[in-house]
Symmetry: C2
Subunit: 403 residues, 2 copies
């Protein structure tokens, strides 16, 4: 039986980038950019006025001039208004291009305006300290041709704004991962059915699909009863059409747990079966050459949940951003905790943000790996290593967060 | 001029819940539940077998019996198989309902099987320690009728699974907020146009729409040049049709900044104008009675960004979950930092997760509030209060996170 760390490494080793697709900028937030974006112009593209006020030549201020006749007014978006004559100023608004002959902006708060012989005149109350004051100079942030965004970054609102600035109306992005969610189990009935006393409704498939949606993947759900013939016929097309299959149920030691053998018959190479962890030990993982990887998760809901967030979500991220380090969040155990078996324990925890910025993890009682409702009060699992047996309040452990 | 805290309070005071809508469970992840959900049955609904193995009567073990003839086999989903006679056992799989006459499950790992006179017999290797071992008892997690989910919770994958379990194929949720994103500014051209030397492409509207999408709101974009007549005609229908308007540009002291006066003419009551903060000081906020609230944000991209995450996103959250405390994330300043003006400073920072779980905020250089590209290297802003002037490495401050 392999360790959680080894299992995680083997899962991630199968992650491969997917083909690129082109989509409109307006649909690109959250996606992974697959082309480098360069500045088409300087940033800013002109000497950009940074405050509302007047534009003047600093040499006039340096020469002792304190009042400036206004020779023109220039709003943002207007062609730059040249000074009508030396020693005048242009009244000007934020976002405008600095007029020829000027190099400095004095903001309204530092001016008083008068009218002298029908001519509007600005008097400096606080003279500008240096040439270039309140000017956002052309190319100071980026130069035309500079790399703005490398391929591989995730497009958040900041990247979307930068892409808009350079006119990237369409972007090449990694296509979403496509996952088939396969549930098995004769005890499961449809959502809309009333279960018999010994039956329950299907819930894992809904949980996995919701988690896939949150992780930015597309999914489709399939159900098979524990019927070998139906599975033998139903699985091969899924193995060819999808990037991954997430199965829940059918991988522990029971008589109806024939999935591992059948998957291998269908050409799925087993990478491992069973991980030294609780819950979720019977996890089976394999890969069809040129086809899907297969996450066959144990069917107890808490086990499904742990394994999804420990293995499936990181695999999805690695496929989308192969060169990016995966996040490694951690949290501090809030109270002492004992777990004796020599296996990794995924301790259900509620998280609290402490005043000085770190996360405190409060262990939550849970009625075994079938206790789905207990997850409602948890935010994640603290991943406690096989040793020691006694875990101390205040120690930090890796956090597998689902909320 | 009011403080950031006061401005935030006034903004949040206008948040009101929106009407409810009914949607399919499969589309509900991330939405806010608007009805309480109760358990339709006990959780678990029957004494549920928690391991693959055999079910037996513990009293037989207590009486010294160590071998058990197998009288039936019961897979999950099968009707419970009664014992054919006393002192026998049922071979049984995880998820099955415990057979009548049995109360305890012994897992395969603790058994050896033999065939005696054509009869399959299980010999206990490790006797069960007590009655009820490996049984997940009916109703131990929740009883029929128990409240599972109150109205107001956000539906994450765990809640989706619980809703599926009780057969909630449709859910009542809060409808998404509808926001009109209005850009103004004659210097702005469309994404697909080539700007003249003194023009730039529109980018704030794309940024705000992307951020609204991430926050779970719907949005539509509108552009008006700095043309009072067009705005006077165009804004009223938006004020009636949307929950909020986010405007960018047109609220500072410039000659073309007529928005505040016009908004009041159009029946939008001003709640405040200008906040003691940098960047983003000229923020104007108002509300039309029975209509939209109006966030009129200054047009410099970093100012728009700061104000969106400080004011708009919390307002959206408060409308969706009025009774939930807003998250108050914090991070530790990684290096000393000085900011002299007596105003709240939104310091751009890159975040690092420290090994023991807390967040370190590294200040980033930025070329003023027009330096959109600088946001690419930031994850958020540390909100530094007006006093003191010297901020020390290691101190914790509120974090406004956008990535």
């Amino acid at each position: 039986m392999i360790s959680v760390e080894d299992a995680t490494r083997r899962v991630l080793a199968t992650a491969r980038p997917r083909p690129t697709e082109t989509i409109p900028l307006t649909e690109a937030v959250g996606r992974i950019l697959q082309e480098p974006l360069h500045a088409d112009r300087d940033f800013p593209p002109f000497h950009r006025v940074a405050m509302d006020g007047i534009a003047l030549a600093f040499e006039d201020v340096a020469a002792g001039q304190t009042t400036f006749p206004i020779s023109a007014t220039q709003l943002a978006g207007m062609l730059p208004q040249p000074l009508s004559s030396a020693q005048t100023a242009v009244e000007i608004m934020t976002g405008a291009a600095l007029p020829p002959g000027t190099d400095t902006v004095v903001r309204y708060e530092d001016l008083q305006f008068h009218v002298v012989n029908g001519q509007r005149v600005a008097a400096l109350q606080v003279p500008p300290p240096a040439a270039g004051h309140n000017v956002h100079h052309q190319a100071v942030d980026r130069e035309a041709g500079d790399l703005l965004l490398p391929a591989g970054v995730k497009l958040s609102p900041a990247e979307i704004a930068v892409a808009a600035t350079i006119g990237a109306a369409e972007l090449q992005v990694a296509r979403k991962l496509r996952v088939a969610v396969v549930s098995t189990g004769d005890e499961l009935v449809e959502l809309t059915q009333t279960p018999l006393p010994h039956q329950i409704r299907r819930s894992n498939a809904y949980m996995v699909q919701a988690a896939l949606h949150e992780a930015g993947a597309e999914s489709e759900a399939f159900h098979f009863n524990d019927d070998q013939a139906a599975l033998r016929q139903g699985l091969p097309p899924l193995l060819d059409a999808f990037d991954a299959l997430v199965l829940s149920g059918g991988v522990s030691k029971g008589q109806a747990d024939f999935l591992p053998a059948m998957l291998q018959e269908l050409g799925v190479t087993q990478h491992f079966h069973e991980v030294q962890q609780r819950p979720g030990k019977p996890f089976w993982f394999g890969e069809k050459a040129g086809g899907a990887v297969v996450f066959a998760l144990p069917g107890n809901p808490v086990s499904t949940f742990v394994n999804f967030y420990q293995y499936v979500r990181p695999w999805l991220r690695r496929c989308q951003q192969p060169h990016r380090k995966l996040p490694r969040p951690a949290a501090l155990l809030a109270t002492d905790f004992t777990f004796a078996p020599r296996m990794t324990y995924f301790l259900p925890v509620r998280l609290e943000t402490a005043p000085f910025g770190h996360l405190l993890a409060h262990p939550q009682k849970i009625g075994g790996s079938g206790d789905l409702a207990s997850l409602l009060h948890c935010d994640g699992f603290l991943r406690l290593p096989p040793e020691p047996t006694e875990f101390k309040a205040g120690d930090a452990y890796p956090l597998v967060r689902f909320r």
